[in-house]
């Protein structure tokens, strides 16, 4: 009797210990890359990291060997804003449409299309963007290598991400809330706006965040649509309309045969991480706020 109880508890403790260490191990494997990036970037880049680095434009020869990365910071922000202003409204709208229509053939087609778009390699987007937005021999818009061409190309990459996550977040809102609104005589649109969307806001925020983070890390779609600028342009369109971009800047810097540029690339990576952190917190705050507002005005 005593013996069996003791062995049972031994088994249980053994199992708990195994599960506990596995959890710890997997957690470690999951966060190790981030720690590694931060460690390497900090170790290599900290020597140039100061206020000047983030508040001045690159100078010297090659350009960037002196000065900072303000062009990249500003440019990435501009691209994110442009990409989001296209993809957030379109993606949320498409997600709401898919949620409403559910299984009808048109909705199925949109869903399939959106999933296919998710799988399109970003360099292909770059080429399409080039033909549609940038080149003067292509399909028409003649915007040159510009922030608008690059930002909209990135926006197209973001749309299917926001669409997918919006639809799923709406589906995760419990049916009893939806029915509660319908039973009070709410129309489909009122139910969607007043009950389903606020309930899905956190999920949609996550979708937008995923889209933005994806866009922040892209270089391939920008090569043919915006490329890079060591300054800050006066216009977002036309042959003088290109912006800097942090990811592109890092890519260019590490290809320079210059020790100081490599150090600056690492420091720029740290800045990019910090921006990611700020955007993450910002979106959390926004979704929290918009949920508050939505729940107040119904």
């Amino acid at each position: 009797m005593d013996h069996s109880r003791a062995s049972l508890s031994f088994h249980r403790r053994f199992r708990n210990a195994i599960l506990g260490s596995l959890t710890f191990l997997f957690f470690g494997v999951a966060v190790a890359p981030l720690l590694l990036i931060v460690y390497v970037a900090w170790d290599r880049g900290k020597s140039v990291l100061d206020w000047n680095f983030i508040s001045t434009l690159p100078t010297g020869f090659p350009v960037g060997s002196e000065g900072g990365i303000l062009n990249g910071i500003a440019g990435s922000m501009i691209l994110v804003v442009l990409a989001s202003s296209l993809s957030v409204p379109v993606g949320i709208w498409a997600g709401m449409y898919l949620w409403q229509e559910g299984k009808n053939p048109a909705a199925r087609a949109v869903r399939l299309l959106s999933d296919l778009l998710l799988g399109v390699p970003s360099v292909v987007w770059g080429i399409v963007g080039f033909y549609v937005f940038s080149t003067s021999t292509g399909y028409g818009l003649h915007w040159g290598f510009s922030a608008l061409a690059g930002g909209l190309t990135l926006g197209f990459i973001m749309i299917p991400i926001v669409t997918r996550v919006t639809e799923q977040a709406l589906r995760d809102v419990p049916i009893s809330y939806i029915e509660g609104a319908f039973a009070l005589g709410a129309s489909r649109w009122q139910t969607l706006r007043g009950v389903a969307l606020p309930g899905a806001m956190a999920g949609i925020g996550t979708g937008i965040l995923l889209g933005i983070l994806n866009v922040l890390g892209q270089t391939a779609p920008l090569v043919f649509t915006n490329y890079y600028n060591t300054g800050i342009p006066n216009s977002l369109v036309g042959s003088q309309g290109a912006v800097g971009d942090l990811a592109m800047q890092i890519f260019i810097y590490v290809h320079e045969p210059s020790k100081v540029m490599h150090v600056k690339a690492m420091a720029a990576a740290l800045v990019l991480l910090a921006i990611v952190l700020v955007i993450d917190l910002g979106i959390r705050l926004l979704t929290w706020g918009s949920r508050k507002i939505a729940s107040r005005v119904g």
Binding site: G180, L184, Q190, S295
Partner: protein, 250 residues
């Protein structure tokens, strides 16, 4: 006079008939209790009265349901307008993620009512009618989820009352409540029937006997009999009704 009337009504989930050949009248200013064993179609019937089954895939109907003589499944009655006139309280409390005030005000806001004073008056009136006012009047702005389950259900009743429906459908509204809240709800139903037609699903025979004027007994998707509650409980005409209410099955 009958407020709603149901004639030769069939309801199907796909191929399966959940209700067969139901005909009955829902009298105004009275309480109709629906009783019957689990799965006999009470909820299906109730949700057919305000077209909440429209959202169920593969659901279809035959026959007719009228509200004040108008076929509610015809193009003459928009489902949204129907649901404003035929309110519903669900078995499990389902308040919105909003404040107590906004939960009750929701049905009015979606009708476009913006005036703060009208909203406040209606919210207070509805919360009083649902016997919840004294418990929440100090904290109308706190979340509905800070309330107990029983309070949440009374909030849902208040929410339904706020839009001043003509018919109120209650699907086992007290099954999640403690005895004191339950008796409050029962008193409330007695008050409400002076103004509304009320249909209540209940598994509790005593409750049906206490609150209702008419009782309808459902069995396997069919209406076995309907009549004055006092007669159904003392002198049912069908032996199956007698077996059920005396607890011999179900």
């Amino acid at each position: 006079m009958a407020r709603m009337s149901v004639a030769s009504f069939y309801a199907y989930y796909g191929e399966n008939a959940a209700l067969r050949d139901i005909s009955l009248e829902i009298p105004d200013r009275q309480v109709l209790a629906l009783i019957g064993p689990s799965g006999c179609g009470k909820t299906t019937f109730l949700r057919s009265l305000n077209r909440m089954n429209d959202f169920v895939k593969e659901f279809s109907i035959e026959g007719q349901v009228t509200l004040d003589g108008v076929d509610i499944y015809s193009s003459e009655m928009h489902p949204v307008m129907l649901r404003r006139r035929v309110g519903m309280v669900f078995q499990k409390p389902n308040p919105f993620h909003k404040s107590i005030f906004e939960n009750v005000a929701y049905g009015l806001r979606i009708q476009g009512i913006r005036s703060r004073s009208i909203l406040s008056d209606m919210v207070e009136k509805s919360l009083r009618a649902a016997a919840l006012w004294d418990e929440v009047k100090e904290r109308l702005d706190s979340s509905a989820f800070s309330l107990s389950g029983g309070q949440q259900q009374r909030l849902c009743i208040a929410r339904a009352l706020a839009v001043e429906p003509e018919v109120i459908l209650l699907d086992e509204p007290a099954s999640a409540l403690d005895p004191i809240s339950t008796s409050r709800i029962e008193e409330l139903i007695q008050d409400l029937k002076t103004q509304y037609a009320i249909v209540i699903v209940t598994h509790n025979m005593q409750q049906a006997a206490r609150v209702s004027d008419q009782t309808a007994f459902f069995l396997s998707g069919e209406l076995v009999e309907m009549g004055e509650t006092s007669r159904i409980f003392t002198n049912p005409s069908d032996v199956r009704t007698e077996d059920y209410i005396t607890g011999r099955f179900g």
